[in-house]
Subunit: 330 residues, 2 copies
DNA sequence: ACGTAAAATGTAAACGATTACAAATAAAGT
DNA sequence: ACTTTATTTGTAATCGTTTACATTTTACGT
């Protein structure tokens, strides 16, 4: 295996020069540069990354901590981050935290060990609330979950606006009595709930909402109760993909039909939402865009560590499908 | 930041001893070991990974090259590999090759640079056919795609058996005239096609099959042609999730209903296959298991590089749903 | 032509661990 | 008690780069 000194010897230059050519760190006469590049190619030399990282203490690696890559939302983000990173000659280290604060801490430590140059992180509510960016030697960009503002760069969906858009749509379609179910584990759920109630208030409507653990079963159970109650809602708004699934199953189990008996709208344009009958009206998140933006924030902060903290809110897209079809005032 | 020499000094031992304690590489008297551990904790010392990797030339990192993590199949595998790896104190480097041989080569080189201790790889057909394991300094385990037998460790679905099982099922349900569509880009499609024709032959049936590029549009187009033809098949068997989607859309677009006008069965138990109406009969792949097994093969080969090459075929599971309901002999 | 500033190159000291090898200590056999 | 052997520990070389600093070369103004 060729080492840098072999290249230097063969090219008749010093190792410093070879290093300068390869990392573009210093000036080298064109003539020598070409000679070096030629020898590098001839010997098939590839620099030893461990040595380089040790000496320079730069790793060109970024960490990505999500709760579970199997979630299509994070899958898309992960893909965007990876695309951007490899394009920049950087590496990505992906970790699944399973919404577990212990694992979050563990992986943050691991990132420190790896000496990453930045981390993109989707924290649980607890971690988000008490996160101290200064405790880590690398910049952090939060995604998906809102964070105490001003504390750390972040890119999130405009959750309030998105929830309002869903309510606007339902109201426009003629629905009045609307129930909402929101995830209790993330700041996302809370923000969406705020938007939900804001919008209702604006229309002079009242509606009940419920905070639930983010599982299919929890939603299914709660919605079965609602459907069985005497004044069941005309429409249901749920705050994530799992709830959407739970809701769908509850409605089907109750032998009711969508949207005739009850309309259903939610978040996340997962592939299946378009395929079920009727298609589900959802807010699509710009997932790839979120990943790309997070990466951009990270790179920019690396350039200028002192620039003020930025929280970027991206707009969701309302995708209208059959599950919120216009009420025919029977 | 504490270095190993600081720990050594504070604990009153040599750096060698600290190293031995931390990496468990040599014998250390319990008394000293405790003292060292104590000092490590007190100083909050964490070994520098770059230095360790440089000196030992061991990285405890494995590479995972898949075509696209957004594919639920690979997402599950990725999750399994990551779970296993972190559990072992190893890291994972994930790359998306997009079925592009150039990127495959690029990332394999990158893995070499990273000095990974092994790679789990889902190659395109071309790469699989001419893959030379001895060209790389790390062991490779192929997944999903069959490879020239004997060349390299692999774990794949028993594709022939799976296709036969689908045909068995269709025949048992009363279908006779069966059409098949298979992916041309991977060995997987070819193997499934073999199983398909084997099974038909066994029943004394004939059936036509088609090799197509693995896209939704290709399947949709081809199937629309079939449905419009005078003697359209009673049942369709397609070899992957994308085709399933394309087929579903084609059938719906033609205004036909499943399974009354045409039955539909396929591969990959993606979440949505259970949610559409009717549910789709599929072969579920043990995706998590595939990832886990691949990781096991890799670890075992690290232990004993000389052990003979193994190709592990895992059985799929037939999941019967409405899309292949029994034909009522009208 | 000559001195000075700027640009290009080389020399050698890091970076922070691991690990041969040597040295010291403890255990065991006679 | 005294080798001999086994077990622990320490010393110092080493992994392969980058980079501060010294040195040489080139360019330039007068």
């Amino acid at each position: 295996m060729a080492r840098i000194k072999d290249v230097a010897l063969a090219a008749g230059v010093s190792t410093a020069t070879v290093s300068r050519v390869l990392s573009g760190s210093g000036p080298v006469r064109k003539e020598l540069r070409d000679k070096v590049l030629e020898t590098v190619a001839a010997l098939g030399y590839r620099p030893n990354l461990a040595a380089r990282r040790l000496r320079s203490s730069r790793t060109e690696t970024i960490g990505l901590i999500v709760s579970d890559v199997r979630n299509p939302f994070f899958t898309n983000i992960s893909r965007a981050v990876e695309d951007m990173a490899y394009q920049q000659g950087m590496r990505v280290m992906l970790c699944n935290s399973d919404e577990d604060p212990k694992k979050e801490a563990l992986y943050l430590g691991l990132m420190e060990d790896e000496n990453v140059c930045g981390v993109i992180f989707s924290p649980t509510l607890g971690t988000a609330r008490q996160f101290d960016a200064t405790a880590y030697p690398f910049p952090v960009v939060m995604i998906d979950r809102p964070v105490a503002v001003g504390a750390v760069d972040a890119v999130v969906l405009d959750n309030r606006a998105a929830a309002r858009a869903l309510v606007d749509h339902l109201v426009a379609q003629g629905y009045r009595h609307i129930g909402g179910i929101f995830g209790s584990a993330s700041g996302t759920g809370l923000a969406r709930r705020e938007g939900f109630h804001q919008a209702l208030q604006q229309y002079g409507l009242t509606g009940s909402s419920q905070l639930l653990a983010p599982t299919v079963a929890a939603a299914q159970q709660e919605i079965e109760r609602w459907l069985a109650s005497p004044n069941r809602p005309e429409a249901l708004l749920v705050s994530n993909g799992l709830f959407l699934l739970g809701a769908l199953q509850a409605v089907r189990a109750a032998g009711l039909s969508i949207p005739e008996d009850v309309a259903l709208v939610g978040f996340d344009d997962d592939p299946w939402t378009a395929l079920v009958e009727p298609g589900l009206t959802v807010i699509a998140q710009p997932t790839y865009e979120i990943g790309r933006t997070a990466m951009e924030l990270l790179l920019q902060r690396r350039e200028s560590p002192e620039r003020p903290v930025r929280v970027i809110e991206l707009a969701g897209t309302l995708i209208k499908r059959g599950s919120s079809r216009m009420l025919t005032t029977a």
